[in-house]
Structures are given as C-alpha cells and as structure tokens.
C-alpha cells in the first residue's frame, strides 16, 4: 500500500500536517514503515521535517540536548556521549542503528525501546511542539500524543554514575529479555544518596522501579546493602510475554540482573 509522504522544512509546518487523522511522523522508518509493511491500515499518511533543530546534538556545561532525528549510531559515536554509547549500541544491528532515532525510540513498544529506558533513568525531559514535559509523563501519555518530538534533554551523569544492562539470548544482537538503566549517586561515606532505576520489558513501556530506588537510599552498594532493593525490584511490574521470554521468566530474572548491574 502506498503512503503519501509530505516533507516540511520547519517543525511548525510538520506539526500542523500531523494533525490530520491517520498521519504519522516518519523518523528512521523502523517503526512506522514496519507497521505499514505489516498492513497497519491506521497509517494513511506520513510527515517528516528536515528542520536542522531535529538533527543536532548539543552538549554544553554538562547539559545534553539531542534532536529527535538523531540516530542511535550518531549517539554511539559522539565524543561527549561516551557514557550513553552502550545504551545506543544496544539498539538493533548496525543498519537499524543508522536509521532508528531518539524520537522514535520513545514510542517503541516492549520489547523494543532500550534507549528510552536509559533516558528514563536519566530523568530526561521531552521537548515537543506542545512544550516540555518529564519523560515519565510523556511515556505514560504517549499513545494519545499528537505533538511532534523536537528533542530530549538531560544532565550528563557523573563519570561512572550511569549503568546500563541489556539482557538478550542472542549475542551480540538480540531482542531484550529485559533492560535496566540506573543512575546512582553516593555520599562521601559510600551510601546511596539518590537512585533512579528504569526497567525495560517489565511493562508495555519503560518504567521506574520506585520501590527498589527507595530501598537503596542510605544503603551501601554491596551484596547486603542491595538485598532489600532486589526483594522489591518487581513491585509494580507487569512484564510482557513474547517469543523471547514469558512474563514469569522476566519477573524471576529481574532481581538477578539488577543485582549484577548494581554490583558491577
């Protein structure tokens, strides 16, 4: 089925065109063209914008802003984003990483969207044509989103402060059993002063492990210190079942992998 593609020079014009029912934004094509190829008749038209604001990466004073059209390959090879390279490289194979965009990853349903898990742990803000909002609110309301994603912004974590793990059965590239991203800050005595942990595949979209985060506060990062957090890691989760793993399996192995990530 042919889809009419409209290309606009500015975000403003593309946003207006997106308001037409059945119109979807075309980023790298790895979600929306795939849907069209599968016969998704809800997609009747495509819109894209060549606005340079969508494809730039800016790192100024520890603050990062990544345009929605920036690809996973561009993030993985950016000299100032080394901390995030592992999460960007976790997405797809080389061809997918040359196409898949940051903006698209925010909409990727589980078991995809590993980079959005990283952004959730970084407590990113999502800048849309309707204004900025925290990534957690954005993800919660993404099914009803009709705005155009312009960029994501976050504070670069301290060296070694960002941890990321993707578990897959096929190496080196495979679909996620689950993914975990964590940003931990420790006080001078080594106890955890702040913790943000994001989980992928443990619900239909990336989610925060709030109970585990709270259980880590004031504790040290060792086997005993993290035990309480691992015990409540699955709280609030509702893992997906797919050909990669059952919900039961994902729930069983989550504490194991969270433990490995925290102790790594």
């Amino acid at each position: 089925m042919a889809l009419a593609l409209q290309t606009f020079a500015t975000v403003k014009d593309a946003t207006a065109a997106l308001k037409v029912r059945g119109t979807r934004y075309l980023g790298g094509g790895t979600l929306v063209v795939r849907a069209a190829n599968e016969g998704d008749v809800s997609v009747s038209g495509l819109v894209r914008s060549t606005d340079p604001a969508l494809s730039s990466i800016a790192v100024v004073g520890g603050k990062v802003r990544i345009g929605a059209s920036v690809t996973m390959a561009a993030i993985a090879s950016h000299p100032d984003l080394g901390a995030l390279a592992k999460a960007a490289r976790a997405v797809g194979g080389p061809a997918i990483r040359n196409m898949a965009t940051v903006g698209g990853n925010l909409f990727a349903p589980a078991p995809y969207g590993d980079f959005a898990v990283a952004l959730l742990a970084l407590d990113a803000t999502v800048d849309t044509s309707d204004g900025e909002l925290p990534i957690e609110s954005f993800l919660a309301g993404r099914d009803d989103n009709h705005a155009l994603i312009i960029s994501v912004g976050f504070t670069l974590p301290k060296a070694g402060g960002f941890r990321f793990l993707k578990v897959s059965r096929v190496k080196p590239k495979g679909v996620s059993v689950l993914s975990i991203a964590a940003v931990l800050e420790q006080a001078a005595d080594g106890t955890v002063s702040s913790a943000r942990i994001a989980l992928g595949c443990m619900a239909d979209r990336p989610m925060r492990a709030n109970a585990a985060e709270n259980a880590l506060l004031g504790r040290t990062i060792d086997r005993e210190g993290i035990a309480a957090a691992l015990a409540v890691a699955g709280e609030g989760t509702s893992p997906i079942t797919d050909p990669i793993a059952s919900a039961w399996y994902r729930a069983e192995v989550l504490p194991v992998h969270l433990g490995r990530l925290l102790l790594s």
Binding site: L5, G29, N37, G92, G93, I96, M99
Partner: protein, 160 residues
C-alpha cells in the same frame, strides 16, 4: 495517487523514476529499476536481507522510503563485480562456502563491505558485530565470518 519523481545514483549510474509516494526503496529497486540483488525477507527490519549502502552507511531498504533517497548514492551487491571480475568479498563467500540458499548473501555482503570500508583489518568480534543485523538460516554463520576475514586479508595483501 500522484506519482513522485525520484533520482539517485545506483552503483555509479544515474537513475530517475516516477513512483507512488510511500514506495519503499526495496520495491523501487526491485520492481521499478530491476535490481533484484536486495532481497525482501521479513519487511520488518529483522533479517537484513534487504541491506544496501546509502551514502556510505548500511541501511535497510525495506524500511527506507525511496523518495527520501533523492540525490543519494546507493550501492547494492549487484554493483560490486567489475567487468565480470567478482569483488573480493564475493570471491571469498564462494570460496568459503559462505552461501548456501543465497537469500541472505547480498545483505551479508553489504554489511561486510561497510565494515571493510571503515575497518580494513577487522577482528573476529568486529565481523560478528557488523553482521549482527543479518540472519542466515543455512550456514550457521561460521563460514560467513571466515569469508569476511579472508576477504580482509586478500584486500590488505593487494594493498601491500
């Protein structure tokens, strides 16, 4: 639906066509231009059989709309042989029995070509990583990995 013009360079020669808006590059190449070397496997971005090189980057032609390639330079496996002489990767794939049913081979060769263009002497791990988006159901991958390493050695010997 109105046709849209597309124009790009395919394996060094200029191509111009009128296509339906929304046509994938894979369908434009195979059905309009007649280059059937990219294969339509899954049409989901999972198998890599449709891989082509667009402006030096590996892309999946099944998920790329042809009209977004205006002005681009596209390389497919059918453009590798020169005057009947196979490209070192094609030669190595034949010699190493790295192709069985052959359906994945053009995509594998495209992925391997991008790797060798940037990394002339890759490690085994780099080869595995470069081919990680391409699925082969026949060979078990090992002959393919060996073929890419052999082609890399052949290239460096020719360059020396």
């Amino acid at each position: 639906m109105a046709k849209v013009p597309v124009q790009f360079t395919l394996n060094g020669s200029e191509k111009a066509e009128f296509i339906d808006s929304g046509t994938t590059l894979l369908n434009a190449l195979r059905d309009k231009i007649g280059d059937t070397s990219p294969k339509g496997g899954c049409h989901q971005g999972t198998c890599g059989a449709c891989s082509v090189i667009i402006d030096g980057e590996l892309r999946l032609s099944c998920l790329t709309l042809a009209e977004t390639c205006n002005g681009a330079s596209i390389t497919t496996t059918s453009g590798l042989a020169e005057g009947g002489v196979l490209h070192p990767l094609q030669r190595a794939f034949l010699d190493a029995f790295a192709t069985q049913c052959g359906f994945c081979t053009p995509g594998m060769i495209m992925a391997a070509k991008v790797l060798l263009d940037h990394t002339p002497n890759p490690s085994r791990d780099e080869v595995v990583e470069a081919l990680s988006g391409n699925i082969c159901r026949c060979t078990g991958y090992e002959p393919i990995i060996q073929a890419v390493l052999t082609a890399a050695r052949a290239n460096s010997q020719n360059a020396a």
